[in-house]
């Protein structure tokens, strides 16, 4: 009887971190919000298009108007922005799925480490997309007098506003990705201290 109790006591002290840890709801909900933000940024920017009839020249007394279009794929920076945000949303979706479906998709305990490393890299990638698109949007809004580049936002207001909204959504997504990265790295630190 006493040895059984002793064994039982031993077992509870030597327990490894419990095989079914509580689900981290905060981390999961932050990832869901980040996924929504990056995917909406992708969609809003990809469907961003505005056509307007603009006066190009005047022949005699009749102004010549041609319909001009502003689309996101006129600028390589916005194409890059759409691609990077699409990658970030797909990554978020995959990690949410892996988190929900549980630890059966683990390979020798590499899951948390891989997720932390990939988080860092996808966050750096999203930062590139944001930086390029922000300065391109600023160029479109203010122009550049030194290079004689005219601003386009006074003519294509809806295009500029939608682009700005996509940028804001992408910034929210990347800040949440940063928070999620820090949380997954500290989760690893806590795990390694055991």
């Amino acid at each position: 009887m006493a040895s059984e109790n002793g064994e039982k006591l031993d077992l509870s002290f030597n327990a490894a971190p419990d095989p079914k840890p509580r689900k981290e709801w905060v981390l999961l909900s932050l990832r869901v919000i980040s996924f929504l933000a990056t995917s909406s940024a992708t969609l809003v920017m990809a469907l961003n298009k505005q056509t307007k009839n603009l006066v190009v020249a005047t022949i005699g007394t009749t102004p010549v108007t041609i319909p001009l279009t502003a689309k996101f794929n006129h600028t390589p920076a916005f194409i890059f922005f759409v691609i990077v945000n699409a990658i970030a949303s797909v990554y978020n979706l995959v990690v949410i799925a892996v988190d929900i479906l549980g630890p059966q998709y683990d390979y020798k305990g590499l899951r948390l480490g891989l997720i932390a490393i990939l988080d860092v890299m996808i966050m750096a990638l999203a930062a590139t997309g944001d930086g390029a698109a922000t300065f391109m949007a600023e160029l479109g809004r203010n122009g550049n007098s030194h290079a004689r580049w005219e601003k386009i936002c006074d003519k294509f207001e809806a295009y500029c506003n939608r682009g700005g909204a996509a940028l804001v959504a992408s910034f929210i997504g990347i800040i949440l990705l940063l928070v999620v990265t820090v949380m997954s790295i500290t989760k690893l630190l806590k795990l390694n201290r055991i």
């Binding site: 502003a70 932390a116 750096a124 160029l139």
Partner: protein, 163 residues
């Protein structure tokens, strides 16, 4: 073995410091005078906000890289270095991509927005900016490697250490 590792690590950090420093110096000293139809214009890095952001971020990272070179090994501050590496790599990467985006418009122009390329009028300025961007690219790659190395050393995410 540990000594070789430390020397390699310090060498990498010194290379990153040198790359960021050269990017800042080359970008900040790039200016050229050109004349546009009897008007004399000067092309400087302060003309574009993206290049100003580039210079500011790279100078901050240069100072940080210089200070980290003097951190003694086995200090507890290496945890802080991981966090700061993360933040500074993000800043580096976003400023580099912003500068590349604006430089691409300057070199190729944008026919849809009627923005003419400016590199034909100020070729030396364009070349210097290209050089600064190349140094910046090297710095970005090295900092990403350093970030992954810091995360691996301090936190060991793939659980490769056996204690």
């Amino acid at each position: 073995m540990a000594k070789i590792r430390r020397v390699c690590h310090l060498l990498l950090r010194f290379l990153a410091f040198a790359a960021t420093l050269s990017a800042v110096v080359v970008m900040a000293t790039s200016h050229e005078r050109a004349s546009f139809f009897t008007v004399s214009v000067e092309a400087k890095y302060t003309n574009a906000p993206a290049f100003k952001y580039f210079v500011i971020v790279y100078s901050v990272v240069t100072v940080y890289g210089f200070l980290v070179l003097f951190l003694p090994a086995q200090s507890l501050l290496w945890r802080l270095v991981v966090a700061l590496d993360l933040v500074f790599t993000m800043l580096l990467v976003s400023s580099f991509s912003a500068a590349v985006a604006i430089a691409q418009v300057g070199k190729k122009g944008n026919s849809y927005a009627a923005w003419l390329p400016i590199c034909d009028s100020v070729p030396k300025y364009c070349d210097r900016v290209t050089g600064a961007l190349i140094a910046g690219f090297v710095a970005v790659i090295i900092y990403i490697i350093l970030l992954l190395h810091s995360v691996h050393t301090v936190i060991d995410p793939l659980l490769l250490r056996k204690n």
